[in-house]
Structures are given as C-alpha cells and as structure tokens.
Homo-oligomer: 377 residues x 2
C-alpha cells in the first residue's frame, strides 16, 4: 500500500496491532501489518524474554514496542523508595465490593505483596531500563502511550534509526508531539479502549490532520479509537490518516491470552457495553462495563487515586477476579472486566490474528470500492 | 450521486441540513442537498408561516421538516391542562448563577410567562397539529428527532408518499425503527450536537449498517454526529452510510440566525469545547461549554428535571442571556451557549450555506481520491 507508514516501517499494510501477547505481535507482523508489543507493565527481565521469543519466531518481520512514560505521575522517581499510601476508604470499598460477589479479598495485601512493575517502569530509572532492553532488539518502532516521550526515548530512536510514535487524544497534544519531534502520531478518539480522551475519532483525525498541515509538518497519522474493521480503517484514511492503530480487536483472537470469560463477554457485547472511567488506573480509560465498573461509577464511591496509585488498588483485586472467574466462580465472572473500546460491538467472531489482518485488507478494499460506487457517470 | 438517498429524496448530493433557519434550508436545497426545517419548538401557526416562506423561495427543490415526538415524557398530553411544577431548588440555582454573572433574572417567571411550544408539541395533540401543518406543504421528508415516530407520522408519510426518517443513537433503537417501518435511519454518534447517545459515529454507523443487513432490511442510513466536512461524509459512506445528516455546521453560516456571540465562540472553539449534559432539556444533549454548562455539571448542582420540564427551567434564562449578550453584556457573553457537536473544532470559517454544500462536494471527491491513492500498483 502507498502510505508513508508503510515506507517508514517497512510493512505492506499500515495496520498496527497493539497487544500484550507476543503471539499476536508475531501473527500480525507475519500477515503484513505490524505487531506492537505492549510492555508497560513488564519488568525489564520479562521484556527481554518476550522480545527474544518474538525475534526467534517473527522471521525477520518488523515489530514495535509500546511503553507508558507519562510526563507527570504521583511519586515520580520515588516509587521504589517509599511505599505509596492507599487510603483506608479505598481498601474498604474494594473489600466490600468483592465480598458482595462472594470473592474473598482478605489475602490481597494492598499494595505490599504486589510489586507494581507499571509503577516502577513509569519512573525515570525504570523507563530507562525498559528502553535499554527494547533497543537491544531489532525493533522497528517504539511508542509512548501517554504524553510526550521523554528525551531519552527520542534520542535512542534517532540513534538506532527507529521511528518513535506517541498517542494523542487532542489537537494541542498532537502539535506538542510534532514540536517534540515524534515520527508518527497515533491519534486516538474517545471510543478507544484503555486510556483515551473525549473527542471522537471521526472529529479528531481530520482536526489533527489539518493542524499538522497548518504548521507545515508532515508527520504521518495512525488513527485509533473504535477501529476493528477494514472499512473503519479506510474511513479514517479518507479523512487524513495514513493507517490505523488497533488494540481491542486482537483481544478476542485465538492467540490472545485474554481471560476466556472476558473474551466471551466481549464477543457478546454491543458498543454500549463499555465505560470510560478513572477507576482502573487513575486516568480515564475505557473498559468493559461490569458490576466492578458500575460500583466505581456509582454515587458515594471513593474518588480514584492519581496514577499509578489507583492501579495498585485495582489490579490485585482484578487479578484475583480473573483467576476465580476462569475457575467458574459466578461472582468473579460477573465482576470480570478488561480494557476495550466501543468497537467491541463489531467484534462478534473469534478468529486467528492473521485472519483478522486478511479481513481488514479485504474490507478496506470493499470500502474503497463502495465509496467509488457512489460516484455517478 | 448514486445513492438510494438521492433516489428516494430526489436530490443530487445526499447531504441533509437540519436547521431552525429557513434561509439555510432554502440555500442547501438549492445547492443540491436537502434542507430540513427544525420545527420542534414552533407553534403550528408559526410553522405555517415558515413553510409558506420556504415554498415561495425554494424554487421547487425538495425540503424536509423535523419534529420531536418522543415516546414518553413527563406530563404527556397534559402539558396544557396543568402547569408543571418547577422545584424551588432549580429556580434558586438559576437565579444565583445569573446573579453571579450580573444578569437580573427577577423578571423570568418560571414557567408561567413562557409558554412552552416544545412542551405543547410533544403532546399527542400538539404533534398532530404540527403534522397537519407540515403535510399541507409539499415536503419531501418528515423526520422525528427522538424515538420511534408515532403511528400518525408513519401513516401520514405513507399517505402523502413522503419518506419518514428517525434519529437513532444505538443499534437496538435502529432495529426498532426498521421494524416500525421508517424509511431512513439517521444514525447519530455521541459527538453530535443536541440530543445524542454515547456511541461514537465511527463505531455506530458500521454497527447499525451490519445489524440492518443482518435482519434482511435495506433501510438507507444517513450518518450523523461530528460531520461538518465532505471528507467525514465520505468516511461515513465508506463504512456503510448512504449520506450524511448535519446540523452544527450550518450554525456559523451567514444565513443562520445564531446569536452572533455564540457564532464567534463556535468559530474559535476546538473539538474539546463541548459537553454532553442533561442541563438543557432533561435528556443528554451536546452543547458548547460555558460557565452555564459548567455550573450544571459541578458538584452540588440540582439534578436536571425530566423532559420537557428542564427546558422550562433553562430556556427562559438562556433566552435572556442571549439577548443581553448580543447587547454586549459581559456576564451574558460568558454564559451564552447553544447546542453544537464536537465537529465545532473543524468549523473555523464563516461562509454562506450554499458554499458549505459546494465545499462538502469538493472535499468528498478529494477524500475519495485520497483513499484511492493508497492503493499501489
């Protein structure tokens, strides 16, 4: 395909697949797109293992790595030195919520037992260690999922000739990224799974494309947010994007390590079954609705803590919920949730990741032909 | 253009323009699209006047009429008999909000002085009177902006051979409309101005298109929500729509009777300057953010009343704000707001409504060519 994204990344089809699952990364890259391994919550030694496995299986196809290095967070650089303090209100709220669903939360020590790799990685030191691991491998892209990438990431990208991508949810953030020198903008609408802004993809993509052009830049744009089909990818490209960045659609593939209970919920969900909430990480992120998210959204619920503290509250509990739900525990099955975008309403069939890429291509072409068909003689 | 919408409505370009301003309706229809006159809040005698004026000026081009006849509302059929009761809390809140901005609200009688035509029109009797007026004119489309059209609207449409359109914000509502027999679905994403759902256009359009096809129907779809340019219209059509339904983009045209203060705010706004709030009508509607909307969204604000009562609270105050703001009153200028979608971020130049139609056409073609350009040899 004739897209600057294809030229820049050395890929055939400008479809990027964010996934925490190495098998998805490999399958997508082998099918002509590019898998991007989500490493934000991994300790460096696990990242090393995962990338070594990918190198071994991907047959030389390009792949990327995605990190979360925000510009500001509670306890920046101090996460390891001092245990953050979780208010008693939050502990009691979670204990009550779990108990109402028959889940014993007494063994969850908050935050003692659970080392927060995400918290560590979001400190300057932690991010540097992850970057060091990533650049030891033949990566073809490095992405930052929250805010302007730190200078170190941009420097390493330049030095290793690896394009740097950054996620943005507003026009002004996009322009800040262009000024900072990122190579690719991932423009994510509010319908996206995970961290997201409020402006919809349909508006944000043309708004950012126009703003980038207006400042005389030519930074290519990957559209994100709600995109789970080739027709949506084509739509975004008609509006000014040069490709698509996707996440949710891979969660229900055969290769994904998604909790099977959540996978089934996703396949059954409509586009209305998600909620944008601060309850998982402390920043607004879109996730599957469940009694867990409903409880956090209800009146009287505690206010989510700032990032990364809220993850220390929610993740241990949700990990326990996942584990129990896989064993058939009814209360845990009800509570189980995961990040996913509104596109979940279009994800109705489980299939292999390579097949998803093929379907995107076919659907892209069909959408283009459909559009051409409107033009009369 | 080869679209079932063009064939059904007898128009050249499947762009529908919802407007409360008859001049916009005429200009759009004359330019090859279709103007749809928003009559929800007009008394029948005013609708008669407006449609007579349109008939006189539109040169035989087709136009439509849009009403709001919800399936359920507070005081249905009784609005005229009994004055609805506005809680003292709401009156005091508005009085305080106006006072803080130097606006004297003592002459606003709530709801006595202001007859609510919207409330009247939303009763069965009121709707029947408006429909009678509308069908006395050579209208080419009748649309219902909220819920399944009442049987009377569908019957009159059939009898007069006038297609009936209905706005929907979810897949399930779309299927209910198809079952009820509407001729055109207006599929509106959560980025739309005015009443809107939560699912974004980028997801809702393909979701509804697939659902309609799955039940073996071929009801054509107009995409709505955030669409203010031809490239977005093309994008929606690549995803399964057969045309676009627009509203916001006409508010800043030369013909629009929008408060000039609000018009300037819209031209300056980014896509982040809107809010989806129940504070204007009692149902979620998207509008320009201002200290007025901020106050209603703030903690401790009274809960908006059910439709149509909240309009009886908000409209008299906002009408006064509009009037004072046009005279240069600083507090009123700050408060002034109106319904608009996130597409406001792409509305940066005031121009004539006919020119907007031409720009849509040019931009549609450019987007189509852009998409074709991605296909390599």
């Amino acid at each position: 395909m004739q897209s600057p994204i294809c030229a820049m990344l050395g890929i055939e089809f400008p479809l990027l697949a964010f996934s925490h699952c190495r098998d998805v990364v490999v399958a997508v890259s082998k099918a002509g797109g590019m898998g991007v391994f989500g490493a934000a919550s991994l300790p460096p030694e696990r990242l090393e293992e995962e990338l070594a496995w990918i190198d071994e299986h991907i047959g030389g196809r390009p792949y990327g790595v995605d990190l979360i290095v925000p510009n500001s967070f509670a306890g920046k650089g101090e996460v390891q030195r001092e245990a953050p303090s979780i208010p008693a209100e939050h502990k009691a709220f979670i204990a009550g919520l779990l108990e109402r669903h028959g889940v014993d939360g007494s063994d969850l020590s908050l935050p003692g037992a659970v080392r927060s790799s995400l918290g560590d990685n979001m400190s300057d030191d932690g991010a540097a260690r992850l970057l060091e691991v990533a650049f030891r491998h033949p990566i073809g892209l490095i992405a930052n999922a929250l805010g302007v990438p730190p200078p170190l990431m941009l420097e390493l990208g330049k030095r290793h000739n690896v394009p740097v991508a950054a996620l943005v949810g507003t026009r002004d953030h996009a322009l800040a990224q262009v000024r900072a020198g990122v190579d690719i903008l991932v423009v994510a609408g509010g319908e996206a799974g995970g961290h997201c802004g409020e402006v919809a993809t349909m508006v944000l993509v043309p708004e950012v494309a126009a703003a980038v052009e207006a400042v005389g830049a030519n930074t290519p744009i990957l559209a994100a947010g709600g995109i789970v089909t080739g027709r949506q990818m084509a739509a975004a490209m008609a509006m000014g994007a040069h490709g698509a960045w996707t996440g949710s659609v891979w969660l229900t593939t055969a290769e994904a390590e998604t909790n099977p209970v959540v996978k089934q919920k996703m396949l059954a969900a409509s586009s209305r079954d998600t909620v944008r909430s601060k309850s998982r990480t402390g920043k607004p992120s879109r996730q599957l609705r469940s009694p867990w998210t409903d409880a956090w959204e209800a009146e009287g619920a505690p206010r989510p803590l700032p990032m990364p503290l809220q993850s220390l509250v929610s993740e241990p509990a949700l990990r326990k919920v996942d584990k129990l739900s896989e064993g058939g525990h009814e209360g845990a099955k009800a509570l189980a949730t995961y990040w996913v975008g509104q596109g979940v309403g279009l994800m109705n069939d489980a299939m292999g990741a390579g097949q998803v890429v093929q379907d995107f291509k076919t659907d892209w072409i069909a959408a283009c032909e459909r559009l051409n068909g409107f033009i009369g003689d």
